[in-house]
Symmetry: D3
């Protein structure tokens, strides 16, 4: 059974809209090696798990639960990136603020017209070529060794593709999220590689995939300096045996130690998306809006939860 808090697993950094960066990032959400795949693959492997190897189950499922939060993060990031037109920032639908073009006027030239026609300037369950996510990509083989190897290939490909996406735009909104996912995918590579190490494999120096000098990726280096690449969270409200596997020296043989935690040390507020009249979103006219507002003491209570949402937020990583 699953629960939720209205917080993000990483911070959304504001920057200009960038629809083609958003399109590239769709690969990380709805692509064959994106977060929807990792989420569904690990959940299916958990639900179909056989035998009493509970630490393996808890490892796979724990990573799977994290992936739902990655789907949430990456969706929110894409929504930010396609919300409006670059340098437009008009206060009103038809009044540009900084000389940019109104969103719908540039919409038909963007990479995926669905972002504007179908998704109301929001994230879509598709890849960077516009193909919808497909259930056949979920691999749940039943064989533990094979499932772990498949997961390792999945995380390696995910990280490889995100390293490529990182280079495709200097947009800060994009890079903050992509850098976080690069680092988490390294932790997930460690998780599945370590599980295979407990069964005898020695990876020597082939991991992680890909290798690079993180000085070239400052957002990545900052997160690695904070140790985010060697932590894994189990997100379990009862208890988990994940730590039986995810502890001790990292299987990447880089001298780091693995640490299992219940949850990330920090969480972040979810930015509220503005109304988009040109998308008819949410599309409540005055009459309907009054009905919505008439929900008992609505306006008043609106303030509190917003604050409540920020309390979990600790000191930010520097």
């Amino acid at each position: 059974m699953f629960y939720h808090v209205q917080s993000l697993i990483n911070e959304i950094i504001p920057d200009e809209p960038d629809p083609s960066a958003a399109n590239a990032l769709q690969e990380g959400l709805g692509g064959q090696f994106g977060e929807m795949r990792t989420m569904m693959q690990y959940l299916f492997q958990s639900f179909n798990f056989r035998g009493d190897g509970v630490p393996y189950l808890d490892l796979i499922q724990g990573v799977g639960v994290e992936e739902i939060s990655h789907v949430e993060l990456i969706s929110k990031t894409i929504s930010r990136l396609v919300d409006g037109a670059p340098e437009y920032n008009g206060k009103k639908f038809d009044t540009p603020g900084k000389g940019g073009v109104a969103t719908m006027e540039m919409a038909k030239e963007q990479k995926n017209a669905h972002h504007f026609i179908v998704g109301a300037q929001g994230a879509l369950p598709v890849d960077a070529a516009g193909n919808p996510w497909n259930g056949a990509w979920v691999h749940s083989h039943g064989n533990l060794v094979l499932d772990l190897m498949d997961n390792l290939v999945l995380e390696s490909t995910g990280r490889l593709q995100k390293c490529r996406i990182y280079q495709m735009s200097e947009n800060k909104t994009l890079r903050a999220t992509v850098a976080f996912l690069i680092v988490r995918d390294e932790a997930h590579q460690a998780a599945f590689a370590k599980a295979l190490e407990t069964l005898g494999v020695n990876w020597n120096k082939v991991l992680p995939i890909p290798k690079f000098d993180s000085d070239q990726y400052p957002e990545v280096r900052r997160l690695r300096d904070a140790g985010i690449h060697r932590e894994q969270y189990h997100f379990r409200l009862d208890s988990s045996m994940m730590e039986k596997i995810f502890s001790g020296p990292a299987p990447l043989n880089d001298g780091t130690e693995l640490v299992t935690l219940k949850e990330p040390r920090e969480s972040y507020p979810i930015p509220q998306a503005p109304e988009r009249p040109e998308e008819f979103a949410p599309g409540l006219d005055r009459e309907l809006q009054e009905l919505a507002d008439a929900l008992n003491d609505f306006k008043e209570k609106m303030q509190a939860p917003k604050k409540a949402r920020a309390v979990k937020r600790g000191t930010k990583r520097k």
Copy 2:
């Protein structure tokens, strides 16, 4: 951000394996109107939500979180239904107990050979015709009225199809899960219909879809007698404004009152699936098994969590 407890939202009732019942139930999991769709549709609508209508957001997202637990429940149910051959129940791979046929010998005649070749006698992310789940089925239109109407059609179709599946097999494992989902889909119809009611629609007597005399579906009647059809859970660890909408008289105009709760009053243990040597699942040979067992004090700790998992379980519904 998402969390998990290792419990089920409803009980798995044991019965004989029934692969074609499992195949029919795949529609409820990976079909166009199944639980994977509802889960992804409500999560995408939440992540793309615009404006300050928080009660509507919290309603959609709360139902979405519940759907992840439905995916868990229905996957587990399918796994039970395809695990082994009817009336076989051999203690060992090659020794039938009650005169049935060994699983792999009957496998090629079953409805979807993937259950045995690909899924290791587990659930698959496909529908009852073997087509993989498809991301294009997720509708997130951006327009609040339209999203709510789309969700109402989705829940109505889901419930309609499950009422048809219910009639297709008398298997108790199938019927217990299907009946639960029929009742929850009624609650979800109430949720979205009520939200539209706050915006002015009067549904009169057209809901729920479909209508039937629940005396014909005893498992359904028992759950309705317990009030499961008029409750909605928000599954939020911080706070939710769902109750602003989901309270007061039901929009189905049947005299019932809607109640918002944090979570269901009861939860249920997750049955451990047995090893399946004919599927090479989990496929650890003696050497690998010893390595797995060598995880520090593994065997010992194994007992505890199993008990821990049962504690949340309250008195069962009668």
Copy 3:
């Protein structure tokens, strides 16, 4: 612009339900070489037609309009074949008349469970393997010679597959419709082959595809004896130049003469499908039914159109 009469292009012959025959026939409706493809292919070729070769346009479009009526006929036929269980014929949902099994009890063992879970015992836009119809199958190349050759291959494959389906069941409902389509596909082969003949090709003896002794297919022979294989209809309410091509000796070099008509010499009543309570179809309870009946003088007027629908029907072919 398109118009409709509530009549069928061929007669539905009653026989027992036969769900697996219905499944085979789905290939003729939603398969890659089925009627949905022919209909959409010819309509797209017509809408995209270039130049002043009006007789070619009118030929392609005329056949295309006929294909909509084929989609109607084959859908109705499939609906008949999956409507109920063989030898059941209960007057009421739960009272078998002739010792058969109730529909939903046999449903999960049928070839495509979607016929019962999704389609309410009706036709589906899918093929005989359960794959949905796909727009990529529509070929509109723009090049007239190539389009005509593609259409000839399409009609030949359609006819070939229907000759195979004919042999797969002795069900009279199936065979009557399949035989009609075999004969019409022969006429359509003649149409496209003749158009290519006007551009220089001599087909000699390779057509039609496939060749067989029609004495083995009595339903086919009867229709050929009536000349249905050498007629083509333009279905145009204004005027058509189809006859410029479709007249004179048949290109199959079998001594017959081609004849262009506005429409078939006969049309047939559309049988009304009964309600299916087990499918919740149409699913109007007593209250809703009363509302439906309250439509001004509804009951009274119901009788007239049914008779009206039969008037167009002439003497049947023998």
Copy 4:
């Protein structure tokens, strides 16, 4: 059985080619909520209709027949928009008239290269992201209330998406067709909403979806002023009971009255598409063209039908 006249349901307004506008408009043709879907969905619901609720059948089927004419209109519009390059207008293949670039030279940079490689500068059965139309999008649930609600969601989404497309280009060819479809989708929303009203639902003020001030969409306003949004046509050559439902006050509660007609008051000539030598379309060389021309008195008869096609055309809307 279906018939055809060689006229359009709305006028094609000439303007410059605009391939990316054409690409956006593909969503309205081959998208999940486009005209191919509405056409097939209503036809399948009609062919699978159960029971004696003939007015409901006639309403669904009548709208379905209209949708075939919409597929015709939107295909023709897309063909116009991708036919040639903007500002090229060369009289001959290699001689630009107004300084634009020749079509094939700009082709590889356009949104969907298939428009030039596959479709010969014509419409394709795909959506705005290049995905082919898919049969799984056709919903025919069997349950009347649910089918009507599904249809209402379909029309609402179609209209919403077209309102978004309208804003994406000022091209007059695009806007004329899109405005017409926006207005007709409003009529279709009225049709299905009214049918649900006869079963008890009161929509109050939530329809139509989306709402907007039509002064911002002059082409839309002009059609609404002409009353096109409150008419429905049954396109039946025999007789129809559609009017039993589609009459009286509009369910959108805007004070208008619904009117059922046999067909639209006006129809429009179909523009002939020019030959495209760079696409080898139609691709008849001199020898083949002479054969085509040799069809008995071809050239002579060519003039007449062109005039004949214009006769139905009445006074245009102003």
Copy 5:
């Protein structure tokens, strides 16, 4: 550039037709982890190969070329298994020989009706659930370590699924081919695991996947006894550096030595498939057959090549 000899890489063992065994085997041909995938994946990786690591290129490409021969073998095997009905063996279309049912009479009840309607009792490019093969399954990541790991997972899954299929039927035609592929997949696991070993990985005892006592699979044991599991062929007519990697101790750490050969030590004749009049295959009537026979000295030369085809065949494995 590619060449061909008209011989098979393994022998087709005759047995009765078995359409559902054929359907299961389709997974090995057109499934996500079948031979079409391995073939295309290794060819794409070869064609996209970067850098000067020629031994790695030659290893991947050499295995890829072998996979084309596997596609040939498995297609032929499926063709055998669906060719006719079990125990029918009539000399003529309509004369049963041993009391079985004629093929087309049983066809509509078989697992995939396409085998009879579409494929003329031949192999199809689809999986065991009837889904067509999909290009998105081909992984060519560009990163050498990742490509090798992906290939190892692919071979492991292929072998796992074939071990499951082996158990699903005792048909000798099926088992002979499946056993050969199980052994070759083991060799391919060795190939990619060895390549990763050259880059530092130590696999210890986790391979091959799956592990089993080959005494339970006599056809497999016989091939392993002949050493087929530790050979790899490069199929290159010029030269190959494959042996730089594929030599020395096997990476599965089982004490065997790897051997690189140009081609298998033996090859096998390709059985000629009989005509199938009920499928209209090849469909030449008397007139057309005479034209085919009239090809200069056709009948005479027919004998020679058949013999020629058998010459390469050496002593068979025992």
Copy 6:
């Protein structure tokens, strides 16, 4: 059984990178009428071939084997076209040579982002709209006449689309490959048309499709002048009866004579693709590279095979 030589069937002509030309060319590789389709269609037809019409079998299969080499050629060509950014030509990753933009900086604006995120600047098994190749496009009808006609339509469409692609870019790398394929598709049209001619069809002047004055396509004219359009290769290491059909006057009735050869008169070296650090391809860091180099006498032997690969290369066509 299949063999390989490390040579190309035509020469790769160097020119600047051009990602959108590469995208257009994907249609020729992974499109519905591209080389992957022709290859798989002819191989499946060969593997499923029935009866003793060996010359027909050898013709279909021989063309099929050639198509594998076309897949190789076109993949290599696409790889060249997407390898790097136009006018960049930096010696190192970060040092532009001619003022162009670095590859990853322009990547997100290109037609298919998958070329950079997924394919590491290599060819993909997809079409020009980004849709993956689909097995349902393979037609193997079983009926010889129909299969030959289907193949003729396939080759005609392939050639038509390539003639359109030729006009879309002046890039020499693109045009050299496309021109070669245009000429070979003409030969393949001749092959299947001739086979149908042996069965009685007279094509008169409708072929080839499309027709054009080859003076407008100099690369095409040069190859036709060399006679490449009237040769067919059987690529058989044992023997082939292809010549029984492919000899004598061409069926296109243009006065040429058909010639059957074992293989093309010339073959061409395969250019080695450079490493791409920005794609992490091949991704060996210093440690892993040393391990790779440590393969026994690796560096030394590297020179030899490169020369060896060039020996087959004869005098080039002028």
